[in-house]
């Protein structure tokens, strides 16, 4: 067993033991503890748990890679996934906390005096959460298989087992305290390598400042800032300038950001975290703390992305462009390069047979002419998977084995914490909204608690099955989860609080219209339920790719939300106002006074 294996087993093993220890300590005895951790979680603690809940395998592993290869264009993820918390804190969290129930569909059902509205909300919630959880399960399997040399399946079973222990026994209570531990693990795992790399490249230990500092790895000879150096390195090889490359049009970036923000504020597994704090005031502060903890990672990520890209380019382009020995000889490639080649995530093809690696943008016509004069026959890095950036970063920078092991534990913590939060949102929608709310209203608390545990087990099994047999659409699903939440749940919640006149007909029509246009647009581009070959773009009718104002399907949730708002307001204006007791309910939700702990009726 190598040094790295030993470190990885020890650190991952220690974190898992910690999670199980917390599970034994924090068992849930009541439905209140199972659904909302008894409603007594300190706002700072809840903020930390929310941050872990929110930051998934995608934030931890994929985002820096997205930034590395999209530069400025990836700002949509940075702003979208943080700015949503402002909407959540100002428009939803305090009011939903005041309402004081256990689930999001419960608010929608009560506010719109309608079981159908509640069931529509349950369906939206389950669709969004299941699609999201598949990604986490895959993340767990991949982390195990790549770093612990355990087969993908076995890794998945171990992950399912760990989540089952603390989520089934402890419910929200167990999940909350485990998420706090997981946050600590993942934030150290993310920031420590970033600090080392920032020091290497700029001499500044804070990555947030390092990204705006001078490039010092050459002793300051170039006189360029880090970003200036990166812009130069990538444009010299025909890639787009890092600090200005956009994602689609300006309007597309605008809509994309808006979609992610509204989607963030409408995701049920995040909203229910605010039901666990004692008071309305705590809900407001807790959202702020959550964003502080999230911001630590999200302001580090741009530095990780930019520095990883620069390190990668410099590793391959070792000398002046076009000179005979300016490119890394394939035989001299570093160990991490070989390791990632084995996984197929890095692929090299010696197109011009010179035994050296040329990595450049061969789609750029201007540079292609130059490349030809150097005797280059096309880009030879035929595959550079962006997901490897965070995982390979410590190795590229030559950091010690324990740092690499910590990154593995961090990736697992990020995936496990998000999976657990999603599974709780699913199981409480089943046991509380469907079973207790619709099917068997009279069941005792004890029976409901058992039902909650059982539905959690079923949810874990379903998620595990889908993780083992990922449906074809799994790749495109996270964006869909945001689109669904943005176009259905967020407008219904916001109008429920801010528009006293909003009624049942308006809310249901709005949700259905919003989700329908969003799904239609997505299906039109990516196939009906993502089945390949069923795309129905109609260029002859002016419906080519991104036909609606150049907006991509991933960014369309913003349009869906606008449709939802418009339809809801129009329909409610021409139908009868809600009954008087509902208008009182809205007035009551608007003031903090009189908020008890989250209670069942």
């Amino acid at each position: 067993m190598s040094d790295l294996d030993l470190w990885t087993y020890s650190i991952v093993g220690a974190t898992f033991a910690l999670y199980i220890g917390i599970a034994i300590w924090a068992r849930a005895g009541t439905t209140g503890e199972f659904y909302v951790a008894g409603g007594g979680v300190h706002p700072v603690a809840n903020g930390m748990a929310t941050a872990a809940d929110w930051m998934s395998a995608a934030s931890f592993i994929s985002m820096a890679g997205l930034i590395a290869f999209n530069g400025y264009g990836a700002s949509v993820f940075l702003m979208g996934w943080t700015g949503g918390y402002v909407l959540l804190a100002l428009l939803l969290a305090p009011y939903l906390r005041k309402f004081g129930k256990f689930t999001v569909p419960e608010f929608i059902g009560d506010r719109y005096y309608s079981q159908s509205a509640r069931i529509v909300a349950v369906i939206c919630l389950i669709l969004a959460s299941i699609t999201y959880v598949i990604g986490q399960m895959k993340g767990i399997g991949v982390a195990f298989s790549r770093f612990l040399e355990v087969p993908y399946d076995t890794g998945l079973y171990i992950g399912m087992g760990i989540v089952a222990v603390y989520a089934v026994a402890g419910g929200m209570k167990g999940i909350t305290y485990t998420q706090i531990a997981q946050y600590v693990v993942l934030i150290f795992a993310y920031t420590i390598p970033a600090i080392f790399i920032s020091l290497n490249l700029t001499g500044n230990p804070l990555p947030q400042l390092g990204l705006g500092s001078d490039y010092m790895a050459d002793g300051g000879a170039s006189g360029l800032s880090l970003l200036g150096k990166l812009d130069q390195v990538v444009t010299d090889l025909g890639f787009k300038e890092y600090t200005t490359q956009v994602m689609g049009s300006t309007l597309n970036m605008f809509a994309y950001t808006l979609s992610l923000m509204i989607g963030t504020a409408g995701l049920p597994h995040v909203i229910i975290r605010f039901f666990t704090v004692p008071k309305v005031r705590d809900a407001r502060y807790s959202a702020g703390w959550a964003l502080v903890f999230i911001a630590i990672l999200y302001t580090t990520a741009p530095a990780v992305g930019a520095m990883a890209r620069l390190n990668l380019m410099d590793t391959i382009q070792t000398g002046p462009i076009g000179s005979e020995t300016g490119n890394l000889a394939y035989d001299e490639r570093p160990d991490w390069f070989k390791k990632w080649e084995e996984t197929g995530l890095l692929q090299y093809e010696d197109k011009n047979g010179d035994g050296r690696i040329q990595y450049y943008n061969d789609a750029d016509p201007e540079f292609a002419a130059k490349a030809e004069s150097y005797g280059w026959k096309g880009n030879e890095m035929v595959k550079v998977d962006r997901d490897i950036m965070v995982l390979a970063n410590p190795e590229i920078a030559g950091l010690p084995a324990w740092v690499i092991a910590l990154v593995v534990a961090g990736g697992l913590a990020a995936a496990l914490s998000t999976a657990a939060g999603l599974l709780l949102a699913i199981s409480s929608a089943i046991s509380h909204d469907l079973l207790k709310g619709v099917i068997a209203k009279g069941i005792s608390e004890k029976a409901e608690l058992t039902a909650g545990r059982l539905s959690m087990i079923v949810a874990i099994l379903v998620a595990g099955y889908l993780g083992l047999n990922p449906p074809g659409f799994a790749a495109g699903t996270v964006a869909i989860a945001f689109g669904l939440a943005a176009s259905s749940i967020f407008p219904a919640l916001m109008l429920g609080i801010f528009a006293k006149r909003m009624n049942r007909a308006g809310a249901i029509a709005g949700m259905v219209a919003g989700i329908t246009v969003t799904l239609l647009y997505v299906f039109q581009h990516k196939g009906i339920f993502f089945v390949p070959g069923t795309e129905f773009l109609m260029p002859e009718l002016g419906m080519g790719p991104d036909w609606f104002l150049g907006i991509s399907p991933n960014a369309f949730g913003a349009v869906g939300a606008v449709v939802n708002f418009a339809v809801a307001i129009l329909v409610s204006a021409v139908t009868a106002p809600p009954p008087e007791h509902i208008q009182h309910l809205v007035e009551d939700v608007r003031v903090p006074r009189g908020a008890g702990a989250a209670v069942d009726h």
Binding site: V86, L209, G212, T299
Partner: protein
């Protein structure tokens, strides 16, 4: 608590929301997206300013906005006697 009092509290709350959301919009959609090109002509250390807003500055402002909101709402709760204690 009178109806008047409630209406006044709600109006004050909405006024605060509108101001804070205007700032929220300006730093992200305004400085980070719509005005990014002209702002990039200005440098903040090694950062072009528009790029900085999009990848750093807007996030810092978001954090501050939520704490300002929480603090001002606490005062509003007390002023209108609708706080929880």
């Amino acid at each position: 608590m009178t109806q008047d009092n409630r209406a006044g509290y709600w109006r004050a709350n909405l006024r605060l929301l509108i101001i804070l959301l205007m700032i929220w919009f300006s730093v992200s959609y305004g400085f980070g997206i719509l005005l990014v090109e002209p702002l990039n002509a200005i440098m903040l250390g090694g950062y072009p300013l528009g790029f900085w807003f999009a990848q750093q500055g807007s996030i810092y402002v978001f954090v501050v906005l939520i704490f300002v909101y929480a603090g001002l709402m606490n005062r509003l709760d007390k002023k209108y006697h609708v706080s929880e204690d």
